[in-house]
Symmetry: C2
Subunit: 145 residues, 2 copies
DNA sequence: CTTGATGCAAAGGGTTTGCACCATC
DNA sequence: GATGGTGCAAACCCTTTGCATCAAG
């Protein structure tokens, strides 16, 4: 993994730095995390890392294909490691629960768009709606967002 | 339509104002528009409307079920009228082209999640990826965002 | 020792909020 | 005329950028 990082960076003439290693590790540890959460996680281990470095590094890591981002809320995006299986995020608007579904849940969609030559970015997909629990419970509460 | 607005507002004990009518009309005219674009459109017809009013009104209109929003970029959300057929947005990351697909493109997905009791918010769905033209053309250009 | 990476601080886009005034019902 | 709506300005969150300094290769 961190080997991967070193290799891929070198391929692009980029440099391996402690920050980059720490940020990648933080994303892997956190599962799904916003830049802010990544920063906090890194700082919990090492003292000084700068927010701008987190933003810049997440961008680099995404270009290298080591992390991906998606939007699980109307706020900050969340990053996850590509070592996880490719998956689709399903988010309940009411309780904010996030479930991951295997990529083949969207296979028909991918196929349909593929017929038009469109390549779906599966990992970025976030499906919003209302989960079973909330549909049952909150019969008449106005949905947030 | 504007009848709908008046009715639904009244049902909630809310008031019908010129701003609300103008903003709803702007969304209908524009198809897909960010709050900023809605503001511009409204201002092109009437002089003074405030950005905060646009934000507040779009929120109200969405609660009333008259408009919906989705995220077609990493920037501002876009709003569209619910008088349009329910549709899914498909966005090319490279050329930013947006195509709408009929809701039944995601019928299998909706069914699969429905089996788990999850109700998909179809109108909010934005599928990112790369379109046919771009896949052909930009063979080796790094994808933005 | 060259060039890419970092930290810092300031600026930027987009959105929200508090409050006084205004207008719908 | 009571209460909800609007405008205005300030605050806010998240992110980007310019620049001087630092360090990986």
């Amino acid at each position: 993994m961190s080997d991967d990082l070193a290799t891929r960076l070198r391929e692009q003439g980029l440099r391996l730095t402690p920050q980059r290693q720490l940020i990648l590790r933080a994303v892997e540890e956190l599962g799904h995390a916003t830049p802010d959460e990544v920063l906090a996680q890194v700082r919990s281990q090492v003292s000084s890392v700068n927010p701008s470095t987190v933003y810049r590094t997440l961008e680099v890591l995404e270009e290298l294909g080591l992390v991906r981002h998606t939007h699980l809320s109307d706020r900050a995006p969340t990053y996850h490691s590509t070592t996880e299986h490719e998956h689709v995020h399903v988010v309940c608007r009411r309780c904010h629960a996030v479930r991951s579904y295997d990529a083949d849940a969207v296979a028909p969609l991918v196929a349909a768009l593929g017929a038009d030559g469109f390549t779906v970015d599966i990992g970025h997909l976030a499906v919003f709606g209302e989960c079973a629990d909330c549909s049952a419970t909150a019969a008449a509460t106005p949905p947030p967002t």
